[in-house]
Symmetry: D4
Subunit: 174 residues, 8 copies
């Protein structure tokens, strides 16, 4: 996947965030969206982060996903330097349960939005879906994949329900 | 503006939310993005809300912005029925300072993202910018307006700084 | 129990919520209240959820219990479509300890109440008791069972106390 | 209204809570549900509160609504003494925005549920609707009123929407 | 110890709270203060709790310590029925980390104080010391024990410091 | 009142806290308990605060009440230096609604309790009542006043109730 | 003051923060510490902010104070680019009472500290004192001013106390 | 290291805090800054703590780091007695996740600042770096070490990134 010219960047402040942020990669592969994934820190490698954000559009990137914990500034730092849409994933890596990361990501000042998703792994998955939704504005194929995924989502709920019924009431099952 | 086929929906749970959500309209007009604006409630008019979400893509809408307070479900209800990107604006309309609306908007389950922005008026402004960023993925004109806006943003900070210097140190000013 | 025409619905957003929501079923069986239990999601299967809520009263259901975590909308989505009383159980399934689910469940707008109980397993048990209390408004048998349960509750506290005394002061026991 | 034998009790810890709790009375009058309304405190007049709760069912009451702020125990104290359903309204009367009252009302132990609604005035209105929903389990007339109210709720949203359109786009209005 | 006429009551809502509340007993034994310890619930055995509080002073009790979690009402229920000083220990027994118990214990209305200590085991220990401090107002012996304990407290800190030095810098130790 | 040898100290970190802490003085005068009231700061006049705490018992003081906001350390600083019971009143003097003062007052380490009451004015009133309850352990007269106050408290609730009935249902009043 | 080569930078994200951040200037003038004060935004003028931070040490600045609200990144952005000590002042400019700004400022990742002070005006004053304390490590004159200020602080508390006594007990005053 | 005349004090309320606070020592050793490390409690050994703070400057100490949990007063107690800069490390040692310690440390009143860093181990590391930054105001050697550390920090991020690429895309590696 990474050979193709990447459309989405998946950034994380530390390699310890990989187990969570790998969800983004998994989902983008499902949607066949090429991506760039890397460690980059708003606080520890700020010049590299700024350069990455500035060059992103020129390199063909269309959406940036950034996951960070604590005083999570990575998504905001990206949004400061680019007009590409930036998605922030607050990570649960401090004793405050990701609550600090959520507020540091979502409460951006007027003029510089960050599209914030839920804390942790579910948020990482949703960040990738949201990126695909944005990209689908100019890709019919992606729209169709999103529609199919949405239909499967409802079916998977019904599938879980059927298994629940069988588990609770085995006598009723054929 | 509303005569043109709208690309962005601005939805709010109550007309009392208009002073805040009108920021979205103002910004979209600046960006010359046609929009639809209306009152719609996930809890009080759920069938209408579901129909709106289901038909949105067919009607040509490309992004949905939904503002709500308290147990803010409007954005999530939209996202449940459409694969268009949905932006949620948590509103500060309960004694908890919008904290309830923030959590009810951002903590969506895997599979159904809502792009959440800051609480209140600044969030409403940012929701519109974020929508413009998404639409700019297929509009060069919009990308240019976003770039210009970003440049002006930095200039306005410097302008504020100059006024601050004059105010504090009038003797130094020429 | 599920063969009888169910009076109470026990709904959960995911089958992973079953260990908690099974408390509802256990208590309703104690009270001999027939129930329907199923997986249904306000966000992943919204049309099915809406249909379930709309048809609930006609199918003979009298109370709906809905458990969900995070941006917990299931109870609110039910309440949007039915005038049956809806009980919401906030589940502790995010890093925020159920705090998000509590606010997303309880802070409903005027006109659409959700009867919210405590976070997690104790809340699930209480949801079933609350449902039985509501149903007891037209069932003398159920009222008597509730009275008996309340008397036993006080006795069980005294029983625990007696065991505590024996454990701490074995010499005083006969 | 209070002459009829009351079916619902509206209790508040202090007369300063009346402006909020009067919402309950207003709604119950709309639904033509007779009610008893009074000041009663779990902490300042506990014996009277206990007696009220113990006698409630015998006096013909069917639902108890209790509003309190701070370490809000009134609803829980009622639930401790009766098997009638008890609805708790957390009031915003401390510097913590009703957050303390919410937790003190909703986090009841297993065995003793309190049906908790939103903080403040909206919650008070919803408490009365929830009481009416419970009572409607044995009153067809009440069920019809609730259905009518639900339909009007959706219409009022659409009415607000129409006024919003007229206000924003007066040229388009006929 | 319990044979002597108890001066302090140690109450807990459930026997599962014993590991925490046993700290109270341990400390009171150190101070040679006779105590009564028992399970009693404001919500599950409210009549027994009320009777206990009402009779406490007559039975010779001088201070009441009550530990409870969640919507922790036990201390407040005691304080409602007695003018003896009541100490509340918020317990960490819900997913909210004792935060609910803290607010439900401390935010008492004017007229009915509860002396609240820290959440959990440290709070239980401190509740007993606080009870001893109150009782020392009329016991010189107890005052002396408290003074001795305070002196030992400072010494134990210095002792810990000396061990720290030895551990970190073994070469410097003689 | 202050001429008599004071039994209770009322301390506050700043004279801006007087409107709140004056409640303590008012209540103690009602109970005819002589008090000392003064401004003293754990952070701005720490040596004076330490001296005050160390000398308090010798000067005849029996209970110390300390009110402070923000990182509220005054009560804890008193408790560090004396074995007299110390009551802490968290004040609402920061943008966090007294939440910071509450945690800084109540979460004391094992060995050094502070009896914490509610945030703000109600807490100040309760601090004085709690002090009177402690002192009543050796004063029959004070016990009687406390009993009378408790009886009046219940009567005042009933009085408020009667006025409520008259206000809401003037036709029913004789 | 600003003519002298500035030692301390006072930065704020917006000119609306001036009423709060002017406290820094006032205090530094008291201490006769030359300062630079300006509007600079981590999100709206990130390149200028980065340049300012990178050049700060070379320009002779020794301490940087940065005040910001919401997702407050200004202090962290400074700390990312300089090894000068950076002091962050969380501002109360969102509906969350500065709570978001506090967490976004203080929860910095290992390697990049921000010295965080209290929310709002008191924090701004303390930021300047803290800067003076740091600078005093190489300025005897500044150390003496700090010692004098500390002595005056204790005296001002005693002064407030004397005025309190006069106000409450005018008869006792001479 | 401790033989040299210490410039930085590392204080902790309990020896159980050593695993966290040892980070300070490790970092200061890296920077070759001599330190004093000890157990000292604002609440359990207040006189010793006051003496330590009062004598610190005379003994040659230049910065004080204090770590404490719960109602964390140690840093504030130091700051009350010295004009040396004091750094507070909130520790996560209560059920509230260090949230109590954070507020008790950071929300200091005007006049008495505490430079607060992040909760827990990362905060302890940052406290030492911050101390080194302060000391570097008069040490060119220390400034150079800080610059080197900052450069290595950015390199270590890039190193993590390279390892991430190799792990995810082993085929692309040479």
């Amino acid at each position: 996947m990474p050979e193709a010219s990447p459309l989405v960047a998946i950034l994380m402040g530390s390699d310890s965030d990989l187990p969570t942020m790998a969800e983004c990669a998994r989902v983008l592969e499902d949607y066949r969206v090429p991506y760039d994934i890397r460690v980059l820190s708003a606080h520890r490698s700020p010049a590299e982060a700024a350069t990455y954000a500035r060059d992103a559009a020129l390199r063909g990137l269309r959406v940036i996903i950034a996951g960070a914990g604590g005083a999570a500034h990575l998504a905001g730092a990206m949004a400061a330097y680019t007009t590409l849409p930036v998605i922030g994933v607050p990570l649960d890596s401090s004793p405050l349960g990701g609550f600090d990361a959520l507020l540091a990501t979502v409460q951006m000042p007027p003029g510089v939005p960050v599209a914030t998703v839920a804390i942790g792994r579910g948020g990482a998955e949703n960040a990738a879906i949201l990126a695909a939704q944005m990209l689908s504005l100019k890709s019919r194929a992606l729209r169709q994949r999103l529609e199919r995924f949405k239909a499967e989502l409802a079916q998977s709920v019904e599938g879980k329900n059927i298994r629940l019924q069988r588990k609770l009431f085995p006598d009723l099952a054929e």
